[in-house]
Protein backbone atom coordinates (compact mmCIF):
# COMPACT_ATOMS: atom_id res chain seq x y z
CA UNK A 1 0.00 0.00 0.00
CA UNK A 2 1.47 3.29 -1.04
CA UNK A 3 0.63 6.35 0.95
CA UNK A 4 1.03 9.87 -0.44
CA UNK A 5 3.74 10.83 2.04
CA UNK A 6 5.69 7.57 1.77
CA UNK A 7 9.37 8.27 1.24
CA UNK A 8 10.20 5.11 -0.57
CA UNK A 9 12.67 3.86 2.04
CA UNK A 10 10.34 1.02 2.90
CA UNK A 11 9.93 0.34 6.55
CA UNK A 12 7.96 3.17 8.11
CA UNK A 13 5.61 3.27 5.19
CA UNK A 14 5.12 -0.47 5.32
CA UNK A 15 4.35 -0.49 8.99
CA UNK A 16 1.88 2.34 8.69
CA UNK A 17 0.21 0.78 5.68
CA UNK A 18 -0.49 -2.46 7.50
CA UNK A 19 -1.88 -0.75 10.55
CA UNK A 20 -4.11 1.61 8.69
CA UNK A 21 -5.30 -0.74 5.96
CA UNK A 22 -5.97 -3.66 8.27
CA UNK A 23 -7.86 -1.56 10.77
CA UNK A 24 -9.98 0.10 8.18
CA UNK A 25 -11.01 -3.05 6.37
CA UNK A 26 -12.07 -4.79 9.58
CA UNK A 27 -14.30 -1.91 10.51
CA UNK A 28 -15.91 -1.65 7.12
CA UNK A 29 -16.58 -5.38 6.84
CA UNK A 30 -18.16 -5.39 10.26
CA UNK A 31 -20.51 -2.54 9.37
CA UNK A 32 -21.51 -4.04 6.07
CA UNK A 33 -22.04 -7.57 7.23
CA UNK A 34 -25.68 -7.41 8.41
CA UNK A 35 -26.85 -5.78 5.20
CA UNK A 36 -25.11 -8.34 3.06
CA UNK A 37 -26.45 -11.19 5.09
CA UNK A 38 -30.14 -10.37 5.00
CA UNK A 39 -32.59 -9.00 2.53
CA UNK A 40 -32.04 -5.34 3.24
CA UNK A 41 -34.38 -3.43 5.52
CA UNK A 42 -35.88 -6.59 7.07
CA UNK A 43 -33.26 -6.63 9.78
CA UNK A 44 -34.17 -3.23 11.07
CA UNK A 45 -37.92 -3.67 11.19
CA UNK A 46 -38.13 -7.25 12.42
CA UNK A 47 -38.19 -7.80 16.17
CA UNK A 48 -36.16 -10.96 15.85
CA UNK A 49 -34.11 -11.65 12.78
CA UNK A 50 -32.20 -14.92 12.75
CA UNK A 51 -30.10 -15.60 9.71
CA UNK A 52 -28.18 -18.73 8.73
CA UNK A 53 -27.47 -19.73 12.29
CA UNK A 54 -25.04 -22.61 12.64
CA UNK A 55 -23.56 -23.95 15.85
CA UNK A 56 -21.06 -26.75 16.03
CA UNK A 57 -19.67 -28.41 19.12
CA UNK A 58 -16.57 -30.06 17.76
CA UNK A 59 -17.89 -32.52 15.20
CA UNK A 60 -21.46 -32.32 16.41
CA UNK A 61 -23.65 -29.86 14.55
CA UNK A 62 -26.32 -28.72 16.97
CA UNK A 63 -27.94 -26.11 14.74
CA UNK A 64 -27.54 -25.83 10.97
CA UNK A 65 -28.43 -22.86 8.77
CA UNK A 66 -31.41 -21.85 10.83
CA UNK A 67 -33.20 -18.73 9.60
CA UNK A 68 -36.47 -17.17 10.66
CA UNK A 69 -37.99 -13.78 11.37
CA UNK A 70 -40.55 -12.61 13.86
CA UNK A 71 -42.66 -9.48 13.93
CA UNK A 72 -43.93 -7.57 16.90
CA UNK A 73 -46.73 -9.55 18.52
CA UNK A 74 -45.71 -12.92 17.12
CA UNK A 75 -45.83 -15.84 19.52
CA UNK A 76 -43.59 -18.56 18.16
CA UNK A 77 -43.94 -22.14 19.32
CA UNK A 78 -40.56 -23.73 18.99
CA UNK A 79 -40.92 -27.48 18.78
CA UNK A 80 -38.66 -30.40 18.26
CA UNK A 81 -37.63 -33.69 19.84
CA UNK A 82 -35.07 -33.70 22.64
CA UNK A 83 -31.64 -32.71 21.41
CA UNK A 84 -32.98 -31.07 18.26
CA UNK A 85 -31.18 -27.82 19.06
CA UNK A 86 -33.98 -25.78 20.65
CA UNK A 87 -32.04 -24.75 23.74
CA UNK A 88 -28.90 -24.06 21.71
CA UNK A 89 -30.85 -21.79 19.37
CA UNK A 90 -32.40 -19.92 22.28
CA UNK A 91 -29.03 -19.52 23.96
CA UNK A 92 -27.61 -18.02 20.79
CA UNK A 93 -30.55 -15.65 20.32
CA UNK A 94 -30.19 -14.39 23.88
CA UNK A 95 -26.47 -13.81 23.43
CA UNK A 96 -25.46 -16.45 25.96
CA UNK A 97 -23.24 -18.15 23.41
CA UNK A 98 -22.03 -17.05 20.00
CA UNK A 99 -22.92 -19.06 16.91
CA UNK A 100 -20.29 -20.73 14.76
CA UNK A 101 -21.82 -18.91 11.81
CA UNK A 102 -24.76 -16.61 11.15
CA UNK A 103 -26.29 -13.55 12.74
CA UNK A 104 -29.03 -12.62 15.17
CA UNK A 105 -30.60 -9.17 15.24
CA UNK A 106 -32.92 -8.10 18.02
CA UNK A 107 -34.89 -4.98 17.09
CA UNK A 108 -32.33 -4.40 14.37
CA UNK A 109 -29.36 -4.61 16.75
CA UNK A 110 -26.79 -7.34 16.27
CA UNK A 111 -26.58 -9.27 19.52
CA UNK A 112 -22.86 -9.95 19.11
CA UNK A 113 -21.73 -6.59 17.85
CA UNK A 114 -23.71 -4.63 20.42
CA UNK A 115 -24.66 -7.12 23.12
CA UNK A 116 -25.30 -4.55 25.84
CA UNK A 117 -27.89 -2.73 23.79
CA UNK A 118 -29.58 -5.84 22.39
CA UNK A 119 -29.74 -7.65 25.73
CA UNK A 120 -31.65 -4.80 27.32
CA UNK A 121 -34.86 -5.67 25.50
CA UNK A 122 -34.64 -9.44 26.04
CA UNK A 123 -36.28 -11.41 28.79
CA UNK A 124 -35.08 -14.99 29.07
CA UNK A 125 -36.16 -17.97 31.09
CA UNK A 126 -33.58 -20.73 30.59
CA UNK A 127 -34.35 -24.42 30.83
CA UNK A 128 -33.41 -24.33 34.50
CA UNK A 129 -34.59 -21.17 36.23
CA UNK A 130 -31.45 -19.18 37.17
CA UNK A 131 -32.16 -18.64 40.85
CA UNK A 132 -29.96 -17.68 43.79
CA UNK A 133 -31.13 -20.03 46.51
CA UNK A 134 -29.87 -17.88 49.37
CA UNK A 135 -31.90 -14.81 48.43
CA UNK A 136 -35.52 -13.95 49.09
CA UNK A 137 -37.79 -13.56 46.07
CA UNK A 138 -37.89 -9.79 46.56
CA UNK A 139 -34.09 -9.46 46.87
CA UNK A 140 -33.59 -11.66 43.84
CA UNK A 141 -35.94 -9.67 41.63
CA UNK A 142 -34.32 -6.44 42.80
CA UNK A 143 -30.93 -7.82 41.84
CA UNK A 144 -32.20 -8.88 38.41
CA UNK A 145 -33.78 -5.46 37.89
CA UNK A 146 -30.43 -3.86 38.80
CA UNK A 147 -28.31 -5.90 36.42
CA UNK A 148 -30.91 -5.52 33.67
CA UNK A 149 -30.63 -1.79 34.24
CA UNK A 150 -34.27 -1.14 34.92
CA UNK A 151 -34.66 2.58 35.64
CA UNK A 152 -34.59 3.38 39.32
CA UNK A 153 -37.97 5.11 39.20
CA UNK A 154 -39.72 2.17 37.59
CA UNK A 155 -37.91 -0.55 39.51
CA UNK A 156 -40.17 -0.92 42.51
CA UNK A 157 -43.45 -0.76 40.62
CA UNK A 158 -42.12 -3.14 38.01
CA UNK A 159 -41.12 -5.73 40.63
CA UNK A 160 -44.47 -5.47 42.36
CA UNK A 161 -46.19 -5.81 38.98
CA UNK A 162 -44.35 -8.96 37.92
CA UNK A 163 -44.80 -10.58 41.33
CA UNK A 164 -48.51 -9.89 41.06
CA UNK A 165 -48.65 -11.17 37.49
CA UNK A 166 -46.80 -14.39 38.29
CA UNK A 167 -48.65 -15.01 41.53
CA UNK A 168 -45.64 -14.91 43.81
CA UNK A 169 -46.51 -11.86 45.91
CA UNK A 170 -47.32 -14.02 48.90
CA UNK A 171 -43.86 -15.63 48.89
CA UNK A 172 -41.86 -12.45 48.30
CA UNK A 173 -40.12 -12.63 51.68
CA UNK A 174 -39.37 -16.36 51.45
CA UNK A 175 -35.91 -17.71 50.66
CA UNK A 176 -35.92 -19.04 47.10
CA UNK A 177 -34.12 -22.23 48.17
CA UNK A 178 -37.15 -23.14 50.30
CA UNK A 179 -39.74 -22.71 47.54
CA UNK A 180 -41.53 -25.52 45.72
CA UNK A 181 -40.77 -26.33 42.10
CA UNK A 182 -43.87 -24.52 40.87
CA UNK A 183 -43.01 -21.33 42.72
CA UNK A 184 -39.41 -21.51 41.57
CA UNK A 185 -40.55 -21.78 37.97
CA UNK A 186 -42.79 -18.76 38.47
CA UNK A 187 -39.99 -16.74 40.04
CA UNK A 188 -38.00 -17.67 36.93
CA UNK A 189 -40.74 -16.28 34.70
CA UNK A 190 -41.01 -13.14 36.86
CA UNK A 191 -37.27 -12.67 36.45
CA UNK A 192 -37.62 -12.75 32.67
CA UNK A 193 -40.32 -10.08 32.80
CA UNK A 194 -38.73 -7.65 35.20
CA UNK A 195 -37.13 -5.47 32.51
CA UNK A 196 -40.38 -5.26 30.53
CA UNK A 197 -38.78 -7.03 27.57
CA UNK A 198 -40.05 -6.61 24.03
CA UNK A 199 -38.61 -10.01 23.15
CA UNK A 200 -39.48 -12.74 25.61
CA UNK A 201 -37.77 -16.11 25.27
CA UNK A 202 -39.06 -18.97 27.37
CA UNK A 203 -37.43 -22.40 27.37
CA UNK A 204 -40.09 -24.87 28.50
CA UNK A 205 -41.91 -22.49 30.86
CA UNK A 206 -44.56 -24.95 32.07
CA UNK A 207 -42.24 -27.81 32.91
CA UNK A 208 -42.63 -29.14 36.43
CA UNK A 209 -45.88 -27.35 37.15
CA UNK A 210 -49.15 -28.92 38.21
CA UNK A 211 -52.09 -28.78 35.76
CA UNK A 212 -53.68 -25.77 37.44
CA UNK A 213 -50.41 -23.85 37.39
CA UNK A 214 -49.85 -24.81 33.76
CA UNK A 215 -53.18 -23.23 32.85
CA UNK A 216 -52.27 -20.12 34.85
CA UNK A 217 -48.90 -19.78 33.15
CA UNK A 218 -50.47 -20.25 29.73
CA UNK A 219 -52.95 -17.51 30.50
CA UNK A 220 -50.07 -15.39 31.69
CA UNK A 221 -48.07 -15.91 28.50
CA UNK A 222 -51.17 -15.20 26.43
CA UNK A 223 -51.75 -11.96 28.30
CA UNK A 224 -48.10 -10.98 27.87
CA UNK A 225 -48.11 -11.31 24.10
CA UNK A 226 -49.59 -8.54 22.05
CA UNK A 227 -46.95 -5.86 22.13
CA UNK A 228 -44.23 -8.39 22.80
CA UNK A 229 -42.60 -11.00 20.62
CA UNK A 230 -42.50 -14.35 22.38
CA UNK A 231 -40.46 -17.43 21.58
CA UNK A 232 -41.60 -20.46 23.48
CA UNK A 233 -40.15 -23.93 23.42
CA UNK A 234 -42.21 -26.76 24.76
CA UNK A 235 -42.91 -30.45 24.66
CA UNK A 236 -46.60 -29.99 25.30
CA UNK A 237 -48.11 -29.66 21.85
CA UNK A 238 -51.66 -28.57 22.79
CA UNK A 239 -49.94 -25.67 24.52
CA UNK A 240 -48.76 -24.41 21.16
CA UNK A 241 -52.25 -24.62 19.68
CA UNK A 242 -53.51 -22.61 22.62
CA UNK A 243 -50.91 -19.87 22.82
CA UNK A 244 -48.92 -19.52 19.64
CA UNK A 245 -49.48 -17.71 16.39
CA UNK A 246 -46.65 -19.42 14.58
CA UNK A 247 -44.94 -22.79 14.78
CA UNK A 248 -41.43 -23.87 13.92
CA UNK A 249 -40.53 -27.53 14.23
CA UNK A 250 -36.84 -28.32 14.16
CA UNK A 251 -35.11 -31.66 13.99
CA UNK A 252 -31.37 -32.30 13.98
CA UNK A 253 -30.78 -28.56 14.06
CA UNK A 254 -32.77 -27.83 10.90
CA UNK A 255 -36.20 -26.34 10.39
CA UNK A 256 -38.55 -29.02 9.08
CA UNK A 257 -41.76 -27.03 9.34
CA UNK A 258 -42.45 -23.32 9.60
CA UNK A 259 -46.07 -22.29 9.46
CA UNK A 260 -48.53 -19.87 10.94
CA UNK A 261 -50.90 -21.60 13.31
CA UNK A 262 -53.89 -20.40 11.33
CA UNK A 263 -52.64 -22.09 8.19
CA UNK A 264 -51.67 -25.15 10.14
CA UNK A 265 -55.09 -25.60 11.73
CA UNK A 266 -56.76 -25.13 8.34
CA UNK A 267 -54.59 -27.90 6.98
CA UNK A 268 -55.27 -30.06 9.94
CA UNK A 269 -59.07 -29.78 9.70
CA UNK A 270 -58.99 -30.57 5.99
CA UNK A 271 -59.94 -34.09 6.87
CA UNK A 272 -59.49 -36.89 4.47
CA UNK A 273 -61.23 -39.69 6.31
CA UNK A 274 -64.41 -40.07 8.30
CA UNK A 275 -64.89 -42.23 11.34
CA UNK A 276 -68.25 -43.91 11.82
CA UNK A 277 -69.18 -45.75 14.97
CA UNK A 278 -72.24 -47.99 15.18
CA UNK A 279 -73.82 -50.06 17.93
CA UNK A 280 -74.02 -53.24 15.88
CA UNK A 281 -71.37 -54.75 13.73
CA UNK A 282 -74.00 -55.05 11.04
CA UNK A 283 -73.56 -57.50 8.22
CA UNK A 284 -72.59 -56.02 4.94
CA UNK A 285 -71.95 -52.54 6.27
CA UNK A 286 -68.76 -52.24 4.30
CA UNK A 287 -70.39 -53.32 1.08
CA UNK A 288 -73.34 -51.01 1.55
CA UNK A 289 -71.16 -47.99 2.26
CA UNK A 290 -68.97 -48.76 -0.72
CA UNK A 291 -72.07 -49.01 -2.85
CA UNK A 292 -72.92 -45.38 -2.05
CA UNK A 293 -70.40 -44.16 -4.55
CA UNK A 294 -67.76 -41.48 -4.04
CA UNK A 295 -65.96 -43.72 -1.57
CA UNK A 296 -62.63 -45.24 -2.24
CA UNK A 297 -62.12 -47.41 0.82
CA UNK A 298 -63.75 -48.61 4.04
CA UNK A 299 -61.84 -50.29 6.82
CA UNK A 300 -63.33 -51.79 9.95
CA UNK A 301 -61.81 -50.41 13.11
CA UNK A 302 -62.20 -51.49 16.74
CA UNK A 303 -65.51 -51.55 18.65
CA UNK A 304 -67.85 -50.98 15.75
CA UNK A 305 -65.79 -48.25 14.19
CA UNK A 306 -65.33 -47.89 10.48
CA UNK A 307 -62.80 -45.67 8.81
CA UNK A 308 -64.27 -44.37 5.59
CA UNK A 309 -62.03 -42.77 3.01
CA UNK A 310 -64.04 -40.77 0.49
CA UNK A 311 -62.80 -39.92 -2.98
CA UNK A 312 -61.23 -36.47 -3.32
CA UNK A 313 -63.77 -33.69 -2.99
CA UNK A 314 -66.75 -35.99 -2.47
CA UNK A 315 -69.14 -35.09 0.35
CA UNK A 316 -70.53 -38.41 1.54
CA UNK A 317 -71.44 -37.85 5.17
CA UNK A 318 -75.13 -37.16 4.51
CA UNK A 319 -75.48 -40.34 2.46
CA UNK A 320 -73.75 -42.41 5.09
CA UNK A 321 -75.97 -41.01 7.82
CA UNK A 322 -79.11 -41.74 5.84
CA UNK A 323 -78.20 -45.33 5.01
CA UNK A 324 -77.12 -45.98 8.59
CA UNK A 325 -80.52 -44.86 9.90
CA UNK A 326 -82.47 -46.70 7.22
CA UNK A 327 -80.68 -49.98 7.87
CA UNK A 328 -80.82 -49.50 11.65
CA UNK A 329 -77.10 -49.96 12.38
CA UNK A 330 -77.41 -47.97 15.57
CA UNK A 331 -75.36 -44.96 14.48
CA UNK A 332 -73.46 -43.50 17.45
CA UNK A 333 -70.89 -41.26 15.90
CA UNK A 334 -69.91 -39.83 12.55
CA UNK A 335 -66.96 -37.46 12.52
CA UNK A 336 -64.14 -36.27 10.31
CA UNK A 337 -60.66 -37.32 11.36
CA UNK A 338 -58.78 -34.13 12.33
CA UNK A 339 -55.05 -34.20 12.54
CA UNK A 340 -53.83 -33.01 15.87
CA UNK A 341 -50.59 -31.11 16.14
CA UNK A 342 -49.13 -34.30 17.60
CA UNK A 343 -49.82 -36.10 14.36
CA UNK A 344 -48.39 -33.28 12.29
CA UNK A 345 -45.35 -33.23 14.54
CA UNK A 346 -44.76 -36.96 14.32
CA UNK A 347 -45.39 -37.00 10.58
CA UNK A 348 -42.91 -34.19 9.98
CA UNK A 349 -40.28 -35.63 12.28
CA UNK A 350 -40.54 -39.19 10.98
CA UNK A 351 -40.60 -38.18 7.30
CA UNK A 352 -37.46 -36.20 8.03
CA UNK A 353 -35.90 -39.24 9.60
CA UNK A 354 -36.60 -41.59 6.68
Amino acid sequence: MRLPYGRGDGRPEFAFGIGFGGGYSIVSVKRRAPFEAGSGPGILTRMVYVHNLTKRYGNLTAVENLSFQLERGDVLGFLGPNGAGKTTTMRIITGYMPPTKGTVHIEGVDIFDEPLQAKRVIGYLPENPPLYNDMTVMEYLTFVADIKQVRRKEKKSRIIYVMEKCGISEVRRRIIGHLSKGYRQRVGIAQALVNNPSVLILDEPTIGLDPRQIIEIRELIKSLSGERTVILSTHILPEVTMICSKVIIINHGKIVLEESLQKLSEDMSNAESIIMRTRQNGEGVIEKVLALGGISNVKPGVAGEYIIVPKKGAEVREDIARIAVEDDWGLLELRPVTNTLEEVFLKVISSEEN
Partner: protein
Protein backbone atom coordinates in the same frame (compact mmCIF):
# COMPACT_ATOMS: atom_id res chain seq x y z
CA UNK B 1 -19.95 -0.26 35.30
CA UNK B 2 -23.64 0.18 36.09
CA UNK B 3 -23.94 -3.41 37.24
CA UNK B 4 -20.80 -3.45 39.38
CA UNK B 5 -22.52 -2.34 42.55
CA UNK B 6 -25.42 -4.84 42.37
CA UNK B 7 -22.98 -7.71 41.73
CA UNK B 8 -20.80 -6.60 44.64
CA UNK B 9 -23.80 -6.21 46.92
CA UNK B 10 -25.15 -9.63 46.04
CA UNK B 11 -21.82 -11.33 46.70
CA UNK B 12 -21.40 -9.62 50.06
CA UNK B 13 -24.97 -10.50 50.97
CA UNK B 14 -24.29 -14.06 49.98
CA UNK B 15 -21.20 -14.21 52.22
CA UNK B 16 -22.99 -12.86 55.23
CA UNK B 17 -26.34 -14.56 54.66
CA UNK B 18 -24.66 -17.91 55.19
CA UNK B 19 -22.51 -18.72 58.21
CA UNK B 20 -19.46 -19.00 55.93
CA UNK B 21 -18.14 -15.46 56.33
CA UNK B 22 -18.61 -15.50 60.10
CA UNK B 23 -16.94 -18.88 60.47
CA UNK B 24 -14.02 -17.73 58.34
CA UNK B 25 -13.63 -14.52 60.36
CA UNK B 26 -13.85 -16.33 63.69
CA UNK B 27 -11.52 -19.19 62.75
CA UNK B 28 -9.03 -16.75 61.27
CA UNK B 29 -9.10 -14.58 64.37
CA UNK B 30 -8.76 -17.52 66.78
CA UNK B 31 -5.78 -19.00 64.95
CA UNK B 32 -3.97 -15.71 64.46
CA UNK B 33 -4.64 -14.55 68.03
CA UNK B 34 -3.39 -17.85 69.43
CA UNK B 35 -0.13 -17.55 67.53
CA UNK B 36 0.17 -13.88 68.45
CA UNK B 37 -0.12 -14.84 72.08
CA UNK B 38 2.53 -17.55 71.69
CA UNK B 39 4.98 -15.16 70.05
CA UNK B 40 4.33 -12.50 72.68
CA UNK B 41 4.79 -15.01 75.49
CA UNK B 42 8.04 -16.16 73.92
CA UNK B 43 9.22 -12.59 73.68
CA UNK B 44 8.42 -11.82 77.33
CA UNK B 45 10.20 -14.95 78.56
CA UNK B 46 13.13 -14.17 76.38
CA UNK B 47 13.39 -10.73 77.96
CA UNK B 48 13.78 -12.35 81.39
CA UNK B 49 16.52 -14.55 80.06
CA UNK B 50 19.88 -13.11 81.25
CA UNK B 51 21.48 -13.82 77.91
CA UNK B 52 19.04 -11.35 76.36
CA UNK B 53 21.02 -8.53 77.92
CA UNK B 54 24.10 -9.67 76.06
CA UNK B 55 22.39 -9.73 72.66
CA UNK B 56 22.44 -6.66 70.53
CA UNK B 57 20.47 -5.27 67.65
CA UNK B 58 17.57 -7.13 66.17
CA UNK B 59 15.85 -8.70 69.12
CA UNK B 60 12.96 -6.28 69.40
CA UNK B 61 9.17 -6.44 69.40
CA UNK B 62 9.03 -6.20 65.62
CA UNK B 63 11.34 -9.06 64.89
CA UNK B 64 10.22 -11.39 67.65
CA UNK B 65 6.47 -10.83 67.67
CA UNK B 66 5.12 -8.88 64.72
CA UNK B 67 7.22 -10.45 61.99
CA UNK B 68 6.40 -14.08 62.90
CA UNK B 69 2.78 -13.02 63.50
CA UNK B 70 2.54 -11.72 59.93
CA UNK B 71 4.20 -14.91 58.71
CA UNK B 72 1.50 -16.93 60.44
CA UNK B 73 -1.23 -14.79 58.94
CA UNK B 74 0.18 -15.33 55.46
CA UNK B 75 0.06 -19.11 55.97
CA UNK B 76 -3.47 -18.94 57.33
CA UNK B 77 -4.44 -16.88 54.28
CA UNK B 78 -3.02 -19.60 52.06
CA UNK B 79 -5.38 -22.06 53.75
CA UNK B 80 -8.45 -19.84 54.03
CA UNK B 81 -8.51 -17.95 50.73
CA UNK B 82 -9.51 -21.03 48.68
CA UNK B 83 -12.54 -21.33 50.99
CA UNK B 84 -13.46 -17.69 50.39
CA UNK B 85 -13.24 -17.86 46.62
CA UNK B 86 -14.39 -21.41 45.86
CA UNK B 87 -18.04 -20.61 45.33
CA UNK B 88 -17.67 -17.27 43.58
CA UNK B 89 -17.92 -18.50 39.99
CA UNK B 90 -18.47 -22.25 40.42
CA UNK B 91 -21.81 -21.64 42.12
CA UNK B 92 -23.06 -19.46 39.28
CA UNK B 93 -22.51 -22.38 36.95
CA UNK B 94 -24.02 -24.92 39.28
CA UNK B 95 -27.20 -22.89 39.86
CA UNK B 96 -27.48 -21.96 36.18
CA UNK B 97 -27.35 -18.29 37.20
CA UNK B 98 -24.43 -17.83 34.81
CA UNK B 99 -27.09 -17.94 32.13
CA UNK B 100 -28.85 -14.99 33.76
CA UNK B 101 -25.64 -12.98 34.10
CA UNK B 102 -24.44 -13.61 30.55
CA UNK B 103 -27.79 -12.73 28.99
CA UNK B 104 -28.03 -9.50 30.98
CA UNK B 105 -26.68 -6.22 29.65
CA UNK B 106 -23.50 -6.37 31.74
CA UNK B 107 -19.91 -7.07 30.81
CA UNK B 108 -18.08 -10.17 31.99
CA UNK B 109 -15.28 -8.03 33.40
CA UNK B 110 -17.81 -6.16 35.54
CA UNK B 111 -19.02 -9.46 36.99
CA UNK B 112 -15.47 -10.68 37.69
CA UNK B 113 -14.46 -7.36 39.22
CA UNK B 114 -17.57 -7.21 41.43
CA UNK B 115 -16.86 -10.67 42.78
CA UNK B 116 -13.20 -9.88 43.38
CA UNK B 117 -14.00 -6.69 45.30
CA UNK B 118 -16.53 -8.56 47.44
CA UNK B 119 -13.89 -11.13 48.39
CA UNK B 120 -11.42 -8.29 48.94
CA UNK B 121 -13.78 -6.66 51.44
CA UNK B 122 -13.91 -9.91 53.40
CA UNK B 123 -10.10 -10.01 53.33
CA UNK B 124 -9.91 -6.44 54.62
CA UNK B 125 -12.25 -7.38 57.45
CA UNK B 126 -9.99 -10.28 58.36
CA UNK B 127 -6.91 -8.09 58.36
CA UNK B 128 -8.66 -5.41 60.42
CA UNK B 129 -9.66 -8.01 62.98
CA UNK B 130 -6.10 -9.32 63.17
CA UNK B 131 -4.80 -5.77 63.65
CA UNK B 132 -6.55 -5.62 67.02
CA UNK B 133 -3.72 -7.79 68.38
CA UNK B 134 -1.07 -5.49 66.99
CA UNK B 135 -2.96 -2.51 68.31
CA UNK B 136 -2.47 -3.87 71.84
CA UNK B 137 1.28 -3.79 71.21
CA UNK B 138 1.11 -0.24 69.96
CA UNK B 139 -0.72 0.86 73.08
CA UNK B 140 1.45 -1.03 75.55
CA UNK B 141 4.78 -1.15 73.75
CA UNK B 142 6.65 0.75 71.13
CA UNK B 143 6.93 -1.31 67.97
CA UNK B 144 8.17 0.25 64.75
CA UNK B 145 4.92 1.59 63.38
CA UNK B 146 6.28 1.91 59.85
CA UNK B 147 7.15 -1.78 59.72
CA UNK B 148 3.69 -2.70 60.98
CA UNK B 149 2.09 -0.57 58.29
CA UNK B 150 4.32 -1.97 55.53
CA UNK B 151 3.61 -5.49 56.77
CA UNK B 152 -0.11 -4.90 56.44
CA UNK B 153 0.28 -3.44 52.95
CA UNK B 154 2.19 -6.61 52.06
CA UNK B 155 -0.45 -8.89 53.61
CA UNK B 156 -3.15 -7.04 51.75
CA UNK B 157 -1.35 -7.44 48.40
CA UNK B 158 -0.52 -11.07 49.15
CA UNK B 159 -4.12 -11.84 50.12
CA UNK B 160 -5.50 -10.01 47.09
CA UNK B 161 -3.30 -12.03 44.73
CA UNK B 162 -4.42 -15.22 46.47
CA UNK B 163 -8.03 -14.13 45.93
CA UNK B 164 -7.58 -13.45 42.24
CA UNK B 165 -5.99 -16.87 41.76
CA UNK B 166 -8.80 -18.42 43.79
CA UNK B 167 -11.44 -16.79 41.59
CA UNK B 168 -9.67 -18.13 38.54
CA UNK B 169 -9.71 -21.65 40.00
CA UNK B 170 -13.41 -21.23 40.74
CA UNK B 171 -14.09 -20.28 37.13
CA UNK B 172 -12.68 -23.58 35.90
CA UNK B 173 -15.32 -25.84 37.40
CA UNK B 174 -18.88 -25.95 38.69
CA UNK B 175 -17.82 -27.84 41.81
CA UNK B 176 -16.84 -25.79 44.86
CA UNK B 177 -14.66 -28.49 46.35
CA UNK B 178 -12.68 -28.96 43.15
CA UNK B 179 -12.30 -25.17 42.91
CA UNK B 180 -10.90 -25.03 46.44
CA UNK B 181 -8.46 -27.87 45.76
CA UNK B 182 -7.27 -26.30 42.49
CA UNK B 183 -6.70 -22.89 44.06
CA UNK B 184 -4.94 -24.40 47.08
CA UNK B 185 -2.72 -26.36 44.69
CA UNK B 186 -1.80 -23.31 42.63
CA UNK B 187 -1.14 -21.19 45.71
CA UNK B 188 1.00 -23.83 47.37
CA UNK B 189 2.97 -24.26 44.18
CA UNK B 190 3.52 -20.52 43.89
CA UNK B 191 4.60 -20.49 47.51
CA UNK B 192 7.00 -23.41 47.35
CA UNK B 193 8.44 -22.74 43.93
CA UNK B 194 10.92 -20.29 45.38
CA UNK B 195 11.65 -22.11 48.61
CA UNK B 196 15.24 -22.75 47.62
CA UNK B 197 16.16 -19.35 46.25
CA UNK B 198 15.38 -15.69 46.76
CA UNK B 199 13.51 -13.30 44.52
CA UNK B 200 16.62 -11.90 42.82
CA UNK B 201 18.71 -14.94 41.94
CA UNK B 202 16.46 -17.23 39.87
CA UNK B 203 13.28 -17.03 37.84
CA UNK B 204 11.54 -19.55 40.06
CA UNK B 205 12.61 -17.50 43.03
CA UNK B 206 11.14 -14.42 41.41
CA UNK B 207 7.84 -16.17 40.72
CA UNK B 208 7.47 -17.28 44.33
CA UNK B 209 4.66 -15.47 46.00
CA UNK B 210 6.27 -15.41 49.43
CA UNK B 211 9.74 -14.16 48.48
CA UNK B 212 8.21 -10.84 47.56
CA UNK B 213 6.59 -10.59 50.94
CA UNK B 214 9.79 -10.60 52.99
CA UNK B 215 10.70 -6.96 52.43
CA UNK B 216 7.27 -5.76 53.54
CA UNK B 217 7.79 -7.45 56.90
CA UNK B 218 11.01 -5.52 57.33
CA UNK B 219 9.18 -2.28 56.68
CA UNK B 220 10.29 -1.82 53.09
CA UNK B 221 7.66 -1.14 50.45
CA UNK B 222 9.62 -1.90 47.31
CA UNK B 223 8.03 -0.90 44.02
CA UNK B 224 9.11 -4.11 42.32
CA UNK B 225 7.31 -6.21 44.93
CA UNK B 226 4.18 -4.08 44.61
CA UNK B 227 4.35 -4.45 40.83
CA UNK B 228 4.73 -8.22 41.22
CA UNK B 229 1.59 -8.54 43.34
CA UNK B 230 -0.47 -6.19 41.22
CA UNK B 231 0.57 -8.11 38.09
CA UNK B 232 -0.45 -11.34 39.78
CA UNK B 233 -3.83 -9.86 40.71
CA UNK B 234 -4.48 -8.71 37.15
CA UNK B 235 -3.27 -12.01 35.74
CA UNK B 236 -5.71 -13.94 37.94
CA UNK B 237 -8.61 -11.66 37.01
CA UNK B 238 -7.70 -11.75 33.34
CA UNK B 239 -7.52 -15.55 33.36
CA UNK B 240 -10.92 -15.68 35.05
CA UNK B 241 -12.32 -13.41 32.36
CA UNK B 242 -10.75 -15.54 29.64
CA UNK B 243 -12.04 -18.78 31.15
CA UNK B 244 -15.58 -17.41 31.26
CA UNK B 245 -15.36 -15.93 27.79
CA UNK B 246 -13.89 -19.06 26.22
CA UNK B 247 -16.50 -21.25 27.84
CA UNK B 248 -19.19 -19.51 25.83
CA UNK B 249 -17.37 -20.34 22.62
CA UNK B 250 -17.19 -24.01 23.27
Amino acid sequence: MGAFYPVLKRELRSYFASPLAYIILVVFQIISARFFFLYLQGFLQFQLDPSYQLQTGDLNLNNLVILPYFGTISIVLLLIVPLITMRLVADEKKNYTAELLFTSPIRIRTIVFGKFIAALILLIMMLLLSSVNVFVLIVHGNPDFGAVFAGYVGLFLLGASFLSIGIFASSLTDNQLIAAVISFGILLLLWLVGALSDAESTILGYLSVINHYEDFGKGIIDLKDVVYYISLIFLGLFLTYSALESERWR
